[in-house]
Structures are given as structure tokens and as C-alpha cells.
């Protein structure tokens, strides 16, 4: 197997194809060209040296210096191209994943509308109602995904706007719990909120923090089975607010925990059950919390449940 890998590493054209870049942009190929170039310049300097310089040891020294300089340049160039190729590969993977995620609700909309408007079939009214509901739901799914993508793109360009204003996190959480009430009830899940007394107002970006809390509550409900329980705590600790959300859901496998905040990562047990999530939610959460000066982390046990924590500076 390792011998196979070794030969594979020698096959420049194959590797360049995997990167998805043309040959002249492919680091491995460029390195080969640079090697040939080094040999040529060395021979050239050798020829010049033997004609115009008499002491052979000086010629050898010049030759060696030129080779060394060229070699360093070659390494730098090929390294930078390697990064370029990696970025380009990641970008096309990103586009693949995103277009697949967008296409699912898009198909539902497209075919739903086609079926609703087809002349050949008279649909009973109550069935029509069902179709309209699913059109609404799928439109919402697309809006949510596009919103997430916009946040991701802003995070990566470093242009995520952060407004600072005073607001009450405790009230925001209460509002969100109300809003998620129906969804939780439908899954037979109880949500309880335990804020400390006298939680102060904080100075941060309410619209961004709302995205984080929404995501965490949504995940907790989504990945907790029937008759679940979700608890939310809000505490003051070391001049910071500490938020904790705990569920008794399916949990996250230990080996997946270190990747859980990565872009597009979905835990294996979840993606086996439900193919819908985009894998962007927690990446967005971590980026926002770090941007406003907080920290986010988790504790989880498979089949027992998950706890997510984040801190926010009060001032």
C-alpha cells in the first residue's frame, strides 16, 4: 500500500488533476520545471566559470551559491502555489456542497409548483393546503441557508459587522424559548430556563448573539428524541455572562467533538439520521462568539446528551 502511495506521489499529472488546477499552476509540476532550470543555470555558470575565472575552487563556489539561491526560490514558489491549489480545491468543494444543499429545497419548490399547476389533475383543497405549507417550509429553508452562507462569507472576508449596544440577554432568551415553543411541543420536549438573579444588561451585538442562541436551541430540539428535556442557564462568572444549554439527546461521538465547530462538519450519528443540516450552524456560532470576545465549548456523551457553553464579556 505504501509503495503504491509512493508511486502515486510521483505521478504529477494525476495529482494536478486532483487539485483541479491547470498544469502551469500546479505546484508539483512547477517544481519539476524549476529543477530542470536549476540544472541548466548551473551548467551555464560552470561554462562561464571555466572560460573567465581561473581558480576552479571559486567557480565551484559560485556554482554552489547560484544553485542554493535557485533552490530556495523554487521551494518558496512551489509552496505558495501549493496553498493556492489547496484554496482552489476547497472553494470548488464548498460550491459542490452548497449547490447540493440549495438544490434539495429548490427541487421541492420546482416540482411542487409544477404539480400544483398541472392541468391534468384536480387536487382536493386539503391536499393543496399541504402543498402550500411545504412550499412555505422549503422557501424558509432556502432563506436560512442563504443567510448562513452570507454570514460565513462575511466571516471569511473579515467583514462581519459588529454593532455594540446595550441589551438584555435574559429577555432575548425568554423570547426565543417562546418562539421555539411550538417546535419543542411538537417533539414532546420541555424547555426550562434558569437565569441567575440580577443578570446585568450587556454591551454586545444583539442580532449576532441572537443567531447563536437560536442555533443552539434549534440544534438541541432537533437532536433530542421524544420526551426530551432541555435546560438553559444564564450565570454571572468572572465579570462575564455564562450561557449553558443542556439536552438529553443523542450526543456527539467523542472523535467528532474536536471537529464540531468546523465548517460543513456534521457528526456521524446525526448525518446518518438526517441528511438535511448544512453543517454551518456551529461554525457560525463559534465565529460570532469569538468575534465579540467570548468563548464557546461543549461537553457531550453519546446517547446521554450534550451541553454547550459560551461566555460573553459584560462590558
Amino acid at each position: 500500500m505504501s509503495l503504491k502511495r509512493f508511486f502515486h506521489s510521483l505521478n504529477f499529472i494525476n495529482q494536478c488533476r486532483e487539485y483541479g488546477v491547470p498544469l502551469w499552476q500546479c505546484p508539483q509540476f512547477l517544481f519539476l520545471i524549476m529543477g530542470v532550470f536549476i540544472i541548466l543555470t548551473s551548467s551555464f555558470s560552470y561554462l562561464v566559470g571555466t572560460r573567465f575565472v581561473e581558480d576552479p575552487s571559486i567557480v565551484a563556489l559560485i556554482d554552489l551559491m547560484i544553485t542554493a539561491i535557485l533552490f530556495i526560490i523554487a521551494v518558496i514558489i512551489s509552496k505558495s502555489f501549493e496553498r493556492l491549489a489547496e484554496a482552489s480545491q476547497m472553494k470548488s468543494e464548498f460550491i459542490d456542497i452548497v449547490s447540493h444543499q440549495l438544490r434539495s429545497p429548490l427541487t421541492n419548490l420546482k416540482w411542487g409548483i409544477e404539480f400544483l399547476t398541472s392541468d391534468e389533475f384536480k387536487m382536493p383543497d386539503e391536499k393543496k393546503e399541504e402543498y402550500y405549507d411545504s412550499l412555505k417550509e422549503n422557501t424558509a429553508r432556502m432563506v436560512e441557508l442563504v443567510d448562513d452562507l452570507l454570514v460565513v462569507s462575511r466571516i471569511e472576508k473579515g467583514t462581519l459587522p459588529v454593532r455594540k449596544e446595550k441589551f438584555n440577554l435574559e429577555n432575548m432568551i425568554k423570547d426565543l424559548i417562546d418562539r421555539f415553543g411550538l417546535m419543542a411541543e411538537a417533539s414532546n420536549i420541555k424547555i426550562e430556563f434558569h437565569p441567575d438573579k440580577n443578570i446585568p444588561e450587556i454591551y454586545s451585538d444583539p442580532s449576532q448573539i441572537k443567531i447563536v442562541v437560536e442555533n443552539l436551541i434549534d440544534n438541541a430540539i432537533r437532536y433530542t428524541q421524544n420526551k426530551g428535556y432541555i435546560g438553559i442557564w444564564l450565570r454571572i462568572k468572572n465579570k462575564q455572562l455564562l450561557f449553558k444549554i443542556k439536552d438529553n439527546g443523542m450526543g456527539i461521538p467523542k472523535s467528532d467533538q474536536k471537529h464540531i465547530f468546523e465548517k460543513f462538519f456534521r457528526a456521524r450519528n446525526i448525518s446518518k439520521k438526517d441528511t438535511r443540516g448544512s453543517g454551518l450552524g456551529l461554525y457560525v456560532c463559534k465565529s460570532i462568539i469569538e468575534k465579540v470576545g467570548g468563548k464557546i465549548w461543549l461537553k457531550s456523551k453519546l446517547d446521554k446528551g450534550t451541553e454547550f457553553y459560551f461566555t460573553l464579556p459584560i462590558k
Partner: protein, 122 residues
């Protein structure tokens, strides 16, 4: 009446496309994940299997591989209906023995029905 097994995890699509197939007078058997799909393929002996590739519990590719390995199911035509469009996915599915490969968003409902009729030689 020909029987079609429809393996798809999107419930909305299951309903819409299932309704369309019923309108076209097919008997439709539905499966929401790959494992159930494979089991139903063996027990129901459908005339055609419509298979999505991104499925919970067992990916479409694995289902296809298992279908083509099994004597009882290897001759049932499999129509891949998915939103994956990478050339390597198309190639892999066709190499594994899929009859047709359709990308959902690229086709109107009527066109998909036409393809189904073609596979069923109607």
C-alpha cells in the same frame, strides 16, 4: 400495474413525486432510508427502483452495490434521482450498474416521467 420502489429521504419530495407516480397509474412503494429501501427491494420485487444517493443509514451507492450483487434484485433497473452532479458520482453510479442518472433540478416532472416510461419500455 407496474410497481415502483421510491427510495428518498426528503418527505416533501416523497409526497410530491409519489403523487405524480400514482397519477400516472403506477403502484408506489416508498422508503425513507437506504436500509429500508434495500429490504423492500427484496420483498416487493418492484419493476423499477428510483434511488436517491444521499440517504440516511445507508448511502445510495451502497444500496446500489448491494442490489446489483443480489441475484434476486440485480436485474431490476435502477434510476438514480439525485442532486449530486459531480462527474465522479455519475461515473460511479453508472459503473455500479445504474440504468439512468438524473439530476433533480435539471428536469421537469414530465421529463422524469418520460424517462421512467422509457426505462420501463412503455
Amino acid at each position: 400495474m407496474k410497481k415502483i420502489l421510491f427510495i428518498e429521504d426528503e418527505e416533501t419530495l416523497q409526497r410530491t413525486f409519489g403523487d405524480v407516480l400514482q397519477r400516472e397509474k403506477y403502484e408506489v412503494v416508498k422508503a425513507l432510508d437506504g436500509k429500508i429501501g434495500l429490504r423492500l427491494a427484496k420483498s416487493e420485487k418492484p419493476d423499477l427502483i428510483i434511488l436517491d444517493l444521499v440517504l440516511p443509514k445507508m448511502l445510495g451507492f451502497e444500496v446500489l452495490k448491494a442490489l446489483k450483487k443480489d441475484k434476486e434484485t440485480k436485474d431490476i433497473p435502477v434510476l438514480i434521482l439525485t442532486n449530486l452532479e459531480r462527474p465522479k458520482d455519475v461515473e460511479q453510479a453508472l459503473n455500479l450498474g445504474a440504468t439512468t442518472y438524473l439530476v433533480k433540478t435539471n428536469y421537469a416532472l414530465e421529463e422524469v416521467i418520460d424517462k421512467i416510461k422509457k426505462v420501463l419500455k412503455e
